[in-house]
Symmetry: C2
Subunit: 465 residues, 2 copies
């Protein structure tokens, strides 16, 4: 074998063999049902990655879309215009009333050591938090890892700022599961702090990433418990605070927040569809949520889900694939803060339509792995049978159990709900924070999500269940 | 249902249902073979993500490791010390002779319009290229998309710099397949340019990302064809050049390169193992390549593969999992530029050992999807049977066909060769360029690759084939 073959051809062929095995499209003369359509959808999507172009537009020209904000209102208009410009059918908005919490201009915290040194730290108010008094809250810190710890400490919590510092458990495979094991601190920290006599709650950000960016998210109060302010501290800030507390037990913190809740406001879901050619009254919903938190761009959460859904329908339209049943994009308003859009959509009289399933994408714009289908053992195989169409993009893992927050009201009405499953390892690095920006989204990974939804929804639209 | 449940509990549960379906570890009393061990490996790995710590060390304290360079020599020492410090057995190096090409201090290019304007562009010499004359090469540009195009143009190529500008085809699902469809321009561009009478070759970087970073890689000459210099131009540079050529056909480029090939030099593979407790003479190789290109950190290519392999063995050792057959880490020297390490390892007299398989990881530190196994139909199921151990981390897709460049010589000796398959959408964004830095690697994604190799190699070591 000559030098050229040794040096170039052999390593190249072997190197490529890693990758070629990923390409599963077989050039068989006898295709299985919808394999040709799937192949065309894949090639068309990857060729131009339009989902990313749309997400750039949403992220950079509108930005984060906190429910009730002017940007959220602009996003409603954006969604409607986008779907109209793409020639979708029955494009319209459906109104819903949403809460209107606003982050204040003041959001400050400093650690004050017993020697009087002051260390400024990054915090951000949790969604729904009340403000501090204008002069702030200045108090000693009590660090706890759990609500049980807090109860055990009894009187010690009195008058203190309670610092909830239980990290997400990194040994969990699924970051979502690790999130589930920690997020009660964020949701209920203020209530538990107040119950124990605390004056504020400071919560470790819900991420496994070590950085100085606080992650917001919703929290709640209870009518019977005094309301105290609640803010997130970054993971680096939390670790520093923990280290400082180890050498200085009487550290104090000063927190100032000027957030507030304004009266409810009108907003809307945005809807567009390809009406079914044979059974228009049978509807497959595909959707994500148009609102986001007010940090970053809301790119992965859930700008990605919105453009996934629009792009899925665009691909079908572009390729002239007219579905027999209606495929409807719903951009839901306010997933983050009360599900008003999801509730409104489920209540709306849709003229005797039958929703045969609803697919939500709200786990970020990462490489798709498959779908989680919330169907019983009779219906599940009617969805799982399409996995071979998704295998070429390695997204054919269709598993039982799944849905989404926005479509949970539809689930209560008996609609089968489905969630797009993606590679979730990076999701909480960005989630609800200033890190959730367009540059964290990969054009091809995002597009593959749209492609997966296009293929899956089209097959369901053609064959029903 | 009260407000709290509506606002917090319901969305949370539904939201988490996306993620929980990813967590496949079942708490069954009756485990399948090695499920317990796999579970422990997963939890141990994710808890501390040691692979990333090692890769940080290699990337930041040694940096890129071009074969023959002082950094490559340091990396050999690093690998040996790392394996010794982890308590691996039989840690040693095995020598091999490698080529020694060095990038010069001068690497410049400017586009000169017919109106005399000069536009500086980023280029980098391809590995193996000769230098330009000291004054550079100044010539008109001829843009082509293929070698056939070039042949068709005949005399027109005479005296020109041939600009090979065929992009990787984005409609391919696998970026590796798209790479395969474009990379002959890089490997053979200089030969084809010279055959046509051209004086240099300028090649569009092998990436689908649009940025201003040129990507290097190996190229070759032929003894019977004059040698001309070859350099990569970034994708943005290539697009700009294409646009300029559309309005100014007589553009010239001036290129200066001072790279050179020095005499061959001694280097080495680095080896360490857990010796089998029952059949030490039966060996499973796991490995990546220690050399890299001289741009970026060589983090994904193939620092990731090196630390995948070391970390896989560390996990087994840490958990007290003593394999019945030997699992051996081999950090191969010079995958990029001639496979000397792989050839040397295959030639080495390993004292009557039997290599039952070799697993290479050289596709980046991304989330693992499975393994490609280069076994026949009889042997394939003996590997595929372990997919259930990998399903909990969504890496259970074991497919036929696979291997790696470094282990290709072992394949020729009849050893079954296997490649780790990962999510490859981002690989060529970084590959062979200044973009391939440690910050592009995710600690958990990287660790999951090490975990996959640990689980798979352990099961093979226990049960053989």
């Amino acid at each position: 074998m000559n030098l050229y073959r040794i040096l170039v051809v052999v390593p190249l062929i072997l190197f490529l063999s890693h990758f070629n095995s990923l390409s599963q499209i077989k050039d068989t003369t006898k295709s299985k049902l919808y394999e040709g359509e799937a192949r065309r959808i894949i090639a068309e999507g990857l060729k131009t990655c339009q989902a990313y172009r749309m997400l750039e537009d949403l992220s950079l020209n509108i930005g984060p879309r906190l429910v009730g904000s002017p940007q959220a209102a602009k996003a409603v208009e954006w969604g409607k215009q986008k779907m109209e410009s793409l020639g979708f059918q029955n494009v319209h908005t459906e109104p819903c009333t949403v809460p209107h919490w606003v982050r204040g201009a003041v959001e400050e915290a400093s650690i004050i050591t017993t020697r009087g040194e002051s260390i400024s730290i990054n915090i951000c108010a949790l969604g729904g938090s009340i403000a501090t008094p204008e002069d702030g809250i200045y108090a000693e810190i009590l660090q706890v890892k759990s609500f049980d710890d807090l109860k055990t400490l009894g009187e010690e919590a009195n008058g203190k700022i309670i610092f909830f510092n239980r990290p997400m458990d990194p040994s969990k495979i699924s970051p979502g599961e690790a999130y589930g094991g920690a997020v009660n601190q964020r949701g209920s920290g203020a209530v538990e702090a107040a119950k124990a006599g605390g004056v504020a709650a400071l919560i470790r950000s819900m991420t496994m990433q070590l950085d100085d960016v606080p992650h917001t998210g919703s929290m709640h109060y209870m009518d019977t418990i005094p309301k105290v302010p609640a803010a997130a501290i970054s993971t680096m800030g939390a670790n520093m605070l923990d280290s400082l507390l180890a050498i200085d037990k009487n550290l104090k913190i000063k927190i100032k927040l000027s957030c507030q809740t304004l009266p409810d406001i009108e907003s809307a879901n945005v809807i567009g569809e390809l009406t079914g050619t044979e059974k228009p009254e049978e509807v497959i919903v595909i959707g994500g949520h148009l609102d986001s938190w007010d940090q970053g761009h809301g790119a992965h959460d859930d700008g990605a889900g919105c453009v996934h859904s629009i792009e899925a329908l665009r691909l079908l339209k572009e390729l002239g694939l007219r579905p027999k049943r209606t495929i409807r994009v719903v951009l839901f308003m306010n997933e983050e803060f009360g599900l008003n859009g999801g509730i409104a959509y489920a209540k709306e009289d849709h003229h005797g339509e039958k929703h045969i399933c609803a697919i939500e994408t709200d786990a970020g714009g990462f490489t798709p792995r498959g779908f989680g289908v919330g169907a019983d053992s009779v219906n599940f195989p009617r969805f799982a049978r399409w996995s071979y169409l998704l295998d070429p993009i390695d997204a054919g893992r269709i598993t039982r159990g799944g849905g989404g927050a926005d479509i949970s009201e539809l689930a209560k009405l008996g609609v089968i709900t489905i969630g797009l499953r993606v590679d979730g390892q990076r999701y909480f690095d960005y989630h609800h924070s200033g890190n959730d920006t367009i540059d964290k989204v990969h054009p091809r990974e995002l597009e593959l999500g749209a492609i997966a939804i296009a293929i899956f929804s089209y097959a369901i639209a053609q064959e029903g269940i």
